[in-house]
Assembly symmetry: C2
Homo-oligomer: 352 residues x 2
DNA sequence: TTGTAGGCGTTATCAG
DNA sequence: CTGATAACGCCTACAA
């Protein structure tokens, strides 16, 4: 839509510089050395290790740097050191809201620690993912893989070259950040039991904590049945609606919120009333989970924490010069989940 | 997907390689020059310019490169050329679904053209945005600003140093990609008029095409009133519900889908029936716009196209396909919008 | 504490 | 067409 035109439109003028030359871009340590009357190497020291230079010289240099509006050239720095101050984040699907918070958490934490985030998407393909990972290897100090699709061996192979942190999956020998589903699931199951349900269905996407559901149901004396969905998407949820009805369950737990939403839509379209006739509980608490009517009850998974946690882990690995690979067991960080009770679950009505 | 001759096979024979500090060091053009029996500079030529070397030598070099699993070092390359093959994308809010598709469109197009995307978020703050932009300037060949918050002058200043493309806002002198709202809006208004509405409210966020709405309403003989929302969010939508009711309008157009969703929630909570008593039309068709009940009618804005279009524009600028001459007005690319008719708009019921 | 010199991997400029 | 050789901007022993 039309933005208000600024009055000084005519003043705009100068077009972007031709990319052919690096040009007069920014000052170098040589320029600032000249201004400060010292040697370039001294400037280098002053600007990286704030201890190896006299206070007087330090100030001199810092002033000159400020004067010239100096900024390090990350590429020049990367060449001798190999450190790029950059890390890569590869997600399976950028438009899947599950990853939004992960991305944000990672980006925020990275920026805070003066790192740059480069993002790539695997489009749910293991091949694409591997390609992206290989591409990145050259330019990043470390890699975060969110819900990776490639197999464990490939991940470990990559982790042998550069520090890697995996989100949302456990890979032996590689540090991982995974939500601990048990707390949230048992809360969900308890809530359902308290509302008079006797049989719950669990719609699984890729394998996930069926055991947890079973255990929780057993504890609460509920019958549990397991259903499969082809895809962890809204569409997948719609498709599984038949199976859900056939199962005779009065409550459903799904692998993720997208499934739950699709399922709810389909069930409602078929005339069922949620939660009077059937309760639905999702997983993740993605953005938009409360757009539905009724809003979705879901097991919240702190995705943002996963993102920032993974980044912190990675940065610590980098900073601690902790070489990956042999020996030590890779730490896996567990973040807690919890039930978010909204309208899509509740007491079964007598007629149901 | 079997990798042809992985270096691991050979490497596993002698795994005792000294772990150089930067991790695994890949082959350089010197290595491949040695293998191919030519000069490093010839290798460089062969690998960048396809024409400047004899076919025989070319093949020799390419074979050696494949053998050694060579990959250019982007940092070494960036030093003499200034080209980083990277561009930055700054968005106002990563968790705002408006940007998801933009990000994906940009990422996809960039990867296709062998560019790397680095992402930053401004958290809706002009200052943060400016900081992020400055940071990026050092490392990218160009910048995409999606719904920037900083003022035009700052944007133009940045655009003076590196190619910049702006999405979702028009800045004089800078190439922009903006949705052309008129088609979608007039479709929406016509649809409302056809359904018997007489008075529509427009909830504006940041200034956006009130004129378009006015014109379309005039055309369809509808009364139009303009309302303001403090924030373009779900919450903002809730807060504006009062004003909407007070306005006496029977249909509402909102600046974006988030507003529409919040508004609908609040209206429904107050007992109003959508669309029987009031029609709601959003803008953008974000992910999740169809999660609501009824699903949201909205003016679809091809966000993905905006992202890829902006990227293409930027890449073309970079490649000098079209260097903006001093006098030339910066091109602004308009992408069409269209009405997506869903359940939240429709005929007013007699009792309404 | 500070200066000197060499190198990181590529590209670009000259000669040959 | 190809081979030397000098940048590119910064870091880091090694001296002074």
């Amino acid at each position: 839509m039309t933005e208000p035109k600024t009055p000084d439109a005519a003043a705009s003028a100068a077009p972007a510089k031709k990319p052919s030359r690096a040009g007069k871009s920014s000052a170098t340590i040589y320029d600032i050395a000249k201004v400060a009357g010292v040697n370039p190497s001294t400037v280098s020291r002053a600007l990286s290790k704030p201890g190896r230079v006299s206070a007087k010289t330090q100030k001199l240099i810092e002033d000159a740097a400020a004067e010239l509006n100096y900024q390090v050239n990350p590429f020049a720095r990367a060449l001798p050191t190999g450190r790029t101050n950059t890390f890569g984040l590869i997600v399976a699907d950028i438009t899947n809201p599950t990853f939004f918070d992960i991305i944000r958490g990672a980006e925020t934490t990275a920026t805070l620690r003066d790192y740059t985030l480069v993002l790539a998407e695997s489009a749910e393909s293991a091949d694409t993912e591997l390609t992206a990972a290989r591409r990145m290897m050259a330019t990043v100090d470390g890699l975060i893989l969110a819900s990776p699709r490639m197999d464990d061996d490939n991940i470990r192979a990559i982790a042998r070259d550069k520090p890697v942190v995996v989100i949302n999956r456990e890979v032996d020998g590689v540090p991982c950040v995974v939500p601990d589903v048990n707390k949230g699931i048992s809360e969900a199951v308890r809530s359902l039991a308290a509302n008079g349900h006797h049989k719950v269905a669990f719609v699984a996407g890729p394998p996930r904590s069926w055991e947890g559901v079973q255990a929780a149901c057993e504890w609460s004396r509920l019958e549990a049945v397991r259903l499969e969905s082809s895809k962890p998407t809204v569409d997948g949820g719609r498709q599984v609606a038949r199976d859900v009805r056939a199962s005779g369950a009065t409550a459903v737990l799904t692998y993720n919120d997208l499934l739950a939403i699709g399922l709810m839509q389909e069930l409602q379209a078929a005339g069922m009333v949620v939660p009077d006739q059937i309760s639905i509980v999702g997983f993740d608490d993605i953005f938009g989970a409360d757009f539905t009517t009724p809003p979705l009850t879901t097991v919240r998974s702190p995705l943002g924490e996963c993102g920032s946690g993974a980044t912190t882990l990675l940065l610590d690995l980098l900073h601690g010069d902790h070489l990956p690979g042999a020996g030590e067991p890779a730490a896996t960080l567990r973040v807690e989940t919890e039930l978010v009770l909204r309208g899509s679950s509740g007491r079964l009505l007598p007629g149901g």
